[in-house]
């Protein structure tokens, strides 16, 4: 369903209402369309498919309308280039996205920053890139600034930049994509650029920090006038193949019967999405470039969790007792960015645009997903690994000292 966006959710670059795509599948079917329906299905290629999912207005059901022809082209196989970071929380996004696209029959090349022989490639998701290759994907390495040279004569319909945080990193990729005739440009930005205030959640269109480097990238991409461009702003993610610890931080302490030190009250909200949700959102944008064009999407699940809640869910997933201690990082002279994996103020965006414009739904189910994560955590032997908890110890010592004083 491609109903027009509520005006309050339109980003800076407000788009015209896009008519629903004739031949577009209802959202529940669309998500599964790639694996179930062959591209040559008569249903997809017929210009006169059932009007059951059109809005009631007569405007779109006139047979003389010529956008049917454009719309049919939507469902063909695409050539996608993913420019992927070689480290950090976002690295896993490109891996899932590539896998999903390959599963749907698209052609995918993943250009990872740096060298194939680098130590960074010894961590997931890179350790699983063979999965991409077996599925027919191409994996290459290099400097994104040289992307044209690296891909050579290969042409692409869609480019996802899942790498750059600033113009220096993204501009060469975006410029090349524009000159190479790439039709759709997607960019992984960050929900961290939203200005914080008393009201939550961050909703697409809300003001962003003027000096955030991602903001300049977003504006630059918008101004390049690709046939379709879209921005995705994620928060945190979990999922097999992740490059940066998320729930592991909690598991490390829980399995060792250590108290989990949480900065602040523990009531702060955050969002942890399963990376498959981010991948499905990106895939829908590829499926629906007209609907996605010019839009900003908060790339998050549709539930927030409190920091205390996350600790509880992790303990439950691990089947262990939970001990938490709360502390004031400022009072103890602790840098919470080093001491804790998440932002310690409310950090909470909602995926309203994706739901409304792409018909996307969230499948993240933290209680269940964390169980799977814990199973993997144990299967790789991390629960037995020797670990130091220097900062934790410092926190606990300071708290003890405070009590005795």
């Amino acid at each position: 369903m491609a109903t027009a966006a509520v005006s309050s959710l339109l980003p800076l670059h407000s788009s015209r209402r896009t008519p629903p795509i004739a031949g577009a599948l209802p959202s529940s079917l669309a998500r599964r369309s790639f694996s179930l329906l062959p591209i040559s299905s008569p249903f997809l290629s017929s210009p006169f498919t059932s009007p059951s999912f059109y809005p009631t207005s007569k405007r779109f059901s006139s047979p003389s309308s010529n956008f049917y022809v454009k719309a049919v082209a939507q469902e063909e196989k695409k050539k996608v280039l993913v420019v992927n970071t070689n480290s950090g929380g976002h690295a896993v996004i490109g891996f899932y996205f590539a896998r999903q696209l390959l599963g749907s029959g698209h052609e995918v090349t993943v250009l990872t920053v740096g060298e194939e022989s680098s130590d960074k490639m010894k961590k997931p998701p890179f350790t699983r890139f063979s999965e991409l290759v077996s599925a027919g994907g191409r994996t290459v390495w290099g400097d994104p600034a040289e992307v044209g040279k690296i891909v050579g004569t290969a042409t692409f319909d869609v480019v996802l930049d899942n790498n750059g945080k600033d113009l220096d990193a993204v501009k060469p990729v975006a410029d090349w994509a524009k000159s190479a005739g790439v039709k759709q440009f997607l960019y992984i930005s960050s929900a961290g650029i939203y200005k914080t205030g008393d009201e939550v959640p961050h909703v697409e269109g809300d003001p962003v920090k003027d000096d955030a480097s991602h903001v300049f990238v977003e504006k630059y991409i918008a101004d390049l006038s690709f046939s379709s461009w879209a921005i995705f702003r994620p928060q945190y993610m979990t999922g097999s193949g992740n490059n940066k610890d998320c729930e592991e931080w909690f598991f490390d302490r829980i399995v060792r019967n250590r108290p989990v030190p949480i900065p602040g009250s523990g009531m702060q909200l955050t969002n942890i999405a399963h990376v498959r949700d981010l991948s499905s959102m990106l895939s829908l944008a590829v499926e629906k470039p007209l609907a996605a064009n010019g839009k900003i999407f908060n790339c998050v699940s549709d539930r927030a969790v409190t920091l205390d809640g996350m600790a509880k869910l992790c303990a439950k997933a691990a089947g262990r007792e939970l001990k938490t201690v709360h502390y004031d990082p400022k009072a103890l002279g602790i840098d919470s960015r080093k001491a804790f994996p998440f932002r310690i103020m409310h950090f909470y965006a909602e995926p309203r645009a994706a739901k409304e414009i792409l018909g996307w739904t969230s499948t993240t189910n933290l209680p269940e997903d964390l169980k799977e994560r814990f199973d993997e955590y144990v299967s790789i032997g991390r629960d037995k690994k020797q670990m130091q908890f220097d900062i934790d110890d410092k926190i606990l010592e300071s708290l003890k000292a405070m009590v005795t004083v």
């Binding site: 509520v6 207005s57 009201e199 939550v200 309203r352 739901k355």
Partner: protein, 388 residues
């Protein structure tokens, strides 16, 4: 050929300058409708709804509507919308409060017109026999139950009106089971032990009786005439230039929904087949921290930024008094289902909604509960002691 009626303003008391991005779409579509063969009888009013995003056309005939309650808060606004839409509206109340009151900002003419049309059925809804006989005698097409608390209160209504087209219930988001995963969605677990379990029982009863029901779950309702000290609590303190005592750290997140938006939602589910046997969370589009709400009230009412004092409620015994009007936890619900399925959207943001409440009610010196700063003084007294 059907006669078309232009879009109607649905807010009698507050005129929000409406951006209507779809209006040009509307006009071209209207001209197309003239040629279509739609069976609309002359008596029916054809309304072109303009929910943001979706163009829907609904034919809604005038109905005989009963509102249980309707003289205090939600019903005051709802009844006006329904009367303006041409329905015959009866309020069932004990008559303790005046059946009608002129709203601030409401013109004499508008008020006169409303008062002349609204009907009253005097009775005590706890007198189930009377409810059953009086309703059966009158017969109603639709019942809005705004003040029902328990399932038993609804039974006589259903018994009296076997041909009832729709039973629209004002439930509460208070039925949701407390969770670390938020916001609450309609399908979430509910708490059979909550203070609002009567609302839950009522929803279940409605479903079990096979009647066409719709239930709306508001969070905290605010707006002019609010008798629950939600915004009033803050306004009293701001006006008195007092600090605002907020329990714990003030980052607890809550959600306010303007009564006029709620009233509009109640109207939008009327005769709406999509709403059949559905529950909808109805509240504001965004949520706010306790501290943030204090600041928002100040901003809305033109007060300087307030001094906020945090305290540990466990250190005090307030007796039966409530030191703070909100439950001390995160509490908010997603309105996505209503926006998606009904095309409803709140028109008030937090600041302009609070300003509406202040300008039309509390800022004029009217209030329901007089200011009581006794718990504040306990808190502030202790804080002062700690400081010295």
């Amino acid at each position: 050929m059907a006669k078309l009626v232009a879009v109607q303003q649905l807010q009698p008391c507050h005129h929000v300058p409406r951006v209507s991005p779809g209006s040009s779409l509307l006009h071209s579509s209207l001209s197309e409708f003239n040629g279509t063969a739609l069976n609309i009888s002359v008596q029916k009013k054809r309304k072109v709804w303009q929910p943001k995003g979706a163009l829907q056309v609904k034919a809604s005939s005038a109905k005989k509507i009963l509102i249980m309650g309707g003289t205090r808060f939600i019903g005051v606004f709802l009844s006006r919308l329904l009367v303006k839409d041409g329905h015959q509206v009866t309020l069932f109340t004990r008559g303790k409060a005046p059946i009608t009151q002129q709203l601030p900002g409401e013109s004499d003419q508008e008020y006169a017109e409303f008062s002349s049309k609204i009907l009253h059925l005097k009775g005590d809804r706890q007198d189930f026999e009377f409810v059953k006989t009086s309703l059966a005698a009158k017969g109603f097409d639709v019942v809005y139950d705004i003040n029902g608390r328990e399932g038993v209160e609804v039974e006589p209504i259903l018994d009296a009106l076997p041909k009832l087209e729709q039973f629209i219930y004002c439930s509460s988001a208070g039925v949701y089971l407390k969770s670390d995963l938020l916001p609450h969605f309609e399908a979430d677990a509910v708490d059979p032990k909550s203070r609002h379990k009567g609302k839950l029982e009522t929803e279940r009863l409605l479903d079990s009786r096979g009647v066409n029901w719709t239930s709306l779950r508001p969070v905290y309702i605010y707006g002019p005439l609010n008798y629950n000290p939600v915004e009033e609590w803050f306004f009293h303190r701001l006006k008195a230039g007092r600090p605002i005592p907020i329990p714990n750290n003030g980052v607890q997140i809550t959600q306010l929904g303007h009564v006029k938006d709620l009233a509009r939602a109640f109207v939008m589910v009327l005769g709406n087949s999509k709403a059949s046997k559905q529950v909808y969370n109805i509240s504001g589009s965004k949520y706010v921290t306790f501290d943030g709400l204090a600041r928002a009230c100040a901003k809305a009412a033109g007060f300087p930024e307030p001094e906020i004092v945090h305290y540990n409620p466990k250190e005090f015994d307030f007796g039966k008094k409530k030191a703070f009007p909100f439950r001390d936890q995160h509490f908010f619900a997603s309105i996505e289902k209503a926006t998606r399925d009904l095309g409803w959207n709140p028109e008030f943001g937090l600041i302009d909604g609070l300003a509406d409440s202040y300008n039309l009610d509390f800022g004029r010196g009217t209030y329901r509960k007089p200011a009581d700063f006794s718990t504040d003084d306990m808190i502030l007294g202790k804080s002062l002691v700690l400081q010295s």
